[in-house]
Symmetry: C2
Subunit: 268 residues, 2 copies
């Protein structure tokens, strides 16, 4: 049963020059003819080889760079990006109800050393965050969420940016009001909520991707416009959202892994 190709009555026009050249170079990279870390011919050299103007070659370079295949270093040259078996950031289906920071657990399970920096303050939530947390319109200027910005590091390399939001109405005056201060600092949302009698029952993560913003690129030490995976994570106690977070992960160095068991049907 081979592939079926149906030719309709119209001719595909040739792709533009820069795309055809990009295709050629991409093939050479994938085939290994251009090995990882090898230097590509200089742009001037490529202009001669293909007999095109510099604009075309630059478009080719932009294309391949946006695919993460090459990296240009000003003054040095353009190099095939080594694909050093991207680190995997496990996001376990299994989120234990006790046991400390999920991030540290995941890191430890994979032999990495995790650490983080943070910054907490109470603010008024944006409409989107209000929606995700199921909050009403604020009727005053008072803050309605605790916002905490995290930078997570694995082996001293930044791997995640996260901004977490918790309804201030839930945690105000509680010992866990500041996620990273007090006796329960550094623990996960599940554990901290348990302290104030809230049982987190499930979580949801919405995964997407986009180019990094300027600030994200700086914080993650990646090039401007490099891709990041984005995760909107929300923890629920039954139907009520109790925490939500925006997470950004650079896609060229890390990939994320989900997994779960397959089970016979049962009540839940």
């Amino acid at each position: 049963m081979g592939a079926q190709t149906v030719k309709l009555g119209h001719v595909e026009p040739l792709p533009p020059l820069f795309r055809r050249i990009a295709d050629e170079l991409r093939a050479k990279i994938r085939s290994g003819e251009l090995a990882p870390n090898a230097q590509l011919p200089t742009q001037a050299e490529l202009m001669r080889q293909y007999d095109v103007s510099d604009g075309v070659i630059k478009a080719v370079m932009r294309t391949l760079a946006s695919e993460g295949l090459i990296q240009a270093r000003r003054g040095a040259g353009t190099f095939v990006k080594a694909r050093p078996t991207r680190q995997r950031l496990p996001r376990s289906w299994w989120r234990p109800a006790r046991g400390g920071s999920p991030f540290l657990q995941d890191m430890a399970a994979h032999g990495m050393h995790g650490s983080w920096a943070f910054d907490s303050e109470t603010v008024q939530a944006s409409p989107e965050i209000r929606d995700r947390l199921g909050l009403d319109e604020p009727d005053s200027e008072l803050p309605d969420v605790m916002r905490t910005a995290y930078t997570f590091m694995a082996d001293d390399e930044p791997v995640q940016l996260a901004t977490s939001y918790e309804p201030w109405a839930l945690t105000k005056g509680e010992p866990i009001a500041y996620p990273e201060a007090g006796p329960h600092a550094g623990q996960g949302v599940v554990e901290r909520m348990a302290v104030i009698g809230i049982t987190v029952t499930h979580w949801s993560e919405v995964v997407s991707a986009r180019p990094a913003s300027t600030v994200e690129a700086q914080a993650l030490k990646i090039g401007a416009g490099a891709l990041v995976l984005t995760i909107e994570r929300t923890y629920f106690a039954e139907t009520r959202p109790v925490e939500t977070a925006d997470i950004a992960i650079p896609v060229d160095r890390y990939e994320i892994v989900y997994g779960a068991p397959v089970r016979e049907a049962s009540g839940e």
Copy 2:
């Protein structure tokens, strides 16, 4: 006395022109001053407004387009992209051991009509696929995997490309050898494997993102180079991989959702 050069600490250089202009336009879009579906000034107009050359404006447009904020239509103009509340593709933690195609179930659960096209053939696996399936080097020219290429549609719009690989050694001669033929056509991997006595115990999905290839862009009806989320899915029977698939999903129209319960610690 000769001229003295005094270094006053370190001055951040201004971002390049095209980036500053892109920042300005991005802000106008986010603030709503440029509403969704509104037409941007033409490139010629922008050249006058900012008093820059056409190359700069084109770079600005490329930048914003790559961020998914605008979309240019040749001959017509450039428009702010409406963000039509992206459809969510649920990827349930819960994969029932019985019940037919997971894709159809997910679609039905969200009130969409799912359908798909496919093409199966036996081939020799690439080294990467061999690695994911735990297969040995082939010692002949004989095929070692069944490859099936799928195009999944939701409400007649392509939403996923998937290429599935199953070890031929497992399924050769079995009634489920061809995933989409015979009495068990259209069922999920879990169910089909059960037919030949293999119990799928868990799954793993590695999520990443990259620009779409030319063929992917055509199949998904998206622009060349638009972003796709990629998933490497593998089903396991205990420790043995029994199926793996490469999945591509356009990021501008769909986002994927994972979720699971939080539970007290127990054996598994």
